[in-house]
């Protein structure tokens, strides 16, 4: 009977310790995985380029929130025209195509009352484009000075790459935000190129480089479709 009493005391004692441990554990923030808003962004430099003649590289972004994470989708368009004939050079290159990126981002400022963000993300990018060149090799004995330039083209090139990005989006006024994103693009792969190797992959940059940095300055519009309160920090009491 004494032994039984000892075991019962031990069980109650351990329950007390367990309860104490529960109290010592840090409080966790309540997660809210249901999307509440969409951020629609445009690249400012790309928008400005649309208003001027010549090369175009413009892109747009949409991202939807899942608690402190985002699913981000980018889409853009590139048109390049390098006209170097008659300027001591000997080629005229044109390229145009669409590109897309998709990937997750994590927000390091989920408690910001204005939904400003400091984020880090990974993306998978892909592109479909075409290019063509008129080119004259002026150093070859086979090519006479009066000869017409050779024409080469790729009608359908596919490219893909990976990307890590880091950015900031700060609330300006109302539903408007502005911010930048710094990108490191790597592991490119090009398929479908013939004799002409492309100069540039839309959304990636110079095609023959294994890694590229990129920078975008975004203007963003927040479109909320559900009233979601800014989450409280662990231990913070609602006001």
């Amino acid at each position: 009977m004494r032994i039984l009493g000892f075991f019962i005391s031990l069980v109650f004692l351990s329950m007390g310790v367990f309860a104490q441990n529960q109290e010592l554990k840090p409080l966790k923030r309540a997660r809210d995985w249901v999307p509440s808003k969409v951020f629609l962004s445009a690249d400012l430099a790309g928008l400005l380029r649309l208003t001027t003649p010549g090369n175009v590289q413009t892109e747009f972004q949409g991202k939807v929130d899942f608690d402190s994470f985002f699913l981000t989708i980018d889409a853009g368009y590139l048109r390049t025209d390098l006209d170097r004939i008659g300027d001591g050079s000997n080629f005229n290159y044109e390229s145009n195509g669409l590109f897309y990126r998709v990937g997750p981002q994590v927000d390091f400022m989920p408690y910001n009352k204005d939904w400003s963000q400091l984020y880090f993300g990974f993306m998978y990018g892909w592109s479909r484009f075409e290019d063509k060149i008129q080119y004259q090799n002026t150093n070859s004995i086979y090519v006479s000075p009066n000869e017409q330039p050779i024409s080469l083209d790729n009608e359908r090139i596919k490219a893909r790459w990976l990307e890590a990005n880091f950015g900031l989006s700060a609330h300006i006024v109302g539903p408007l935000y502005m911010g930048y994103v710094l990108r490191f693009k790597f592991a490119p792969s090009v398929k479908g190129a013939g004799e002409l190797y492309p100069w540039e992959i839309p959304g990636y940059g110079r095609a023959d480089r294994t890694g590229r940095f990129g920078f975008n300055y975004h203007i963003t519009y927040k479109l909320g479709f559900r009233n979601k309160k800014v989450p409280l920090r662990p231990g913070e009491k609602p006001q």
């Binding site: 390098l82 050079s89 080629f91 290159y93 070859s140 004995i141 086979y142």
Partner: protein, 162 residues
Amino acid sequence: MIPKSRFLFGLVLLSFSLVWACTQEPDCDNERPYDLVSIGLYQAETETLTQIDTSEMPIRWVKVFYEDSAYYVANSQDSGYFNFKVQLNPNSPEILVAIRELVDTTFLHLKYEKQLEWLSEECGPMHRYEELELTESTTLDSVVINDPLVNFQVDENIRIFY
């Protein structure tokens, strides 16, 4: 207010980046495609690799034929043409090389892969050649592809044994 030391560090980093970027930009005038295939002539039936003695076996000329034209690579007035270089044609995936001896002529039909690759935005593209192969020859059993790559580091692409 940005501390002075951080500002100076940023300035030095920016300057270094600009200098580094400039050194990456090639000088267009110094760049040209490497499009030469080196061919060496050697004596057959010798244990060691021995170049032919042109006084004993004179070669009258070496020509490359393309379309309706031909160009001389070397002729009898040149000396030491037991090793000569033939330029590849950027407008064609193949060339025909003819080596004229006193009586006979050796023909080499060469094929190669070519790709137009970029040097820079300002310099533009230039051809790169590779995968050189001999598709036909009048003396096929005595011609060897020594190295199918076409670049500065290759001493000799083709060896012909007489």
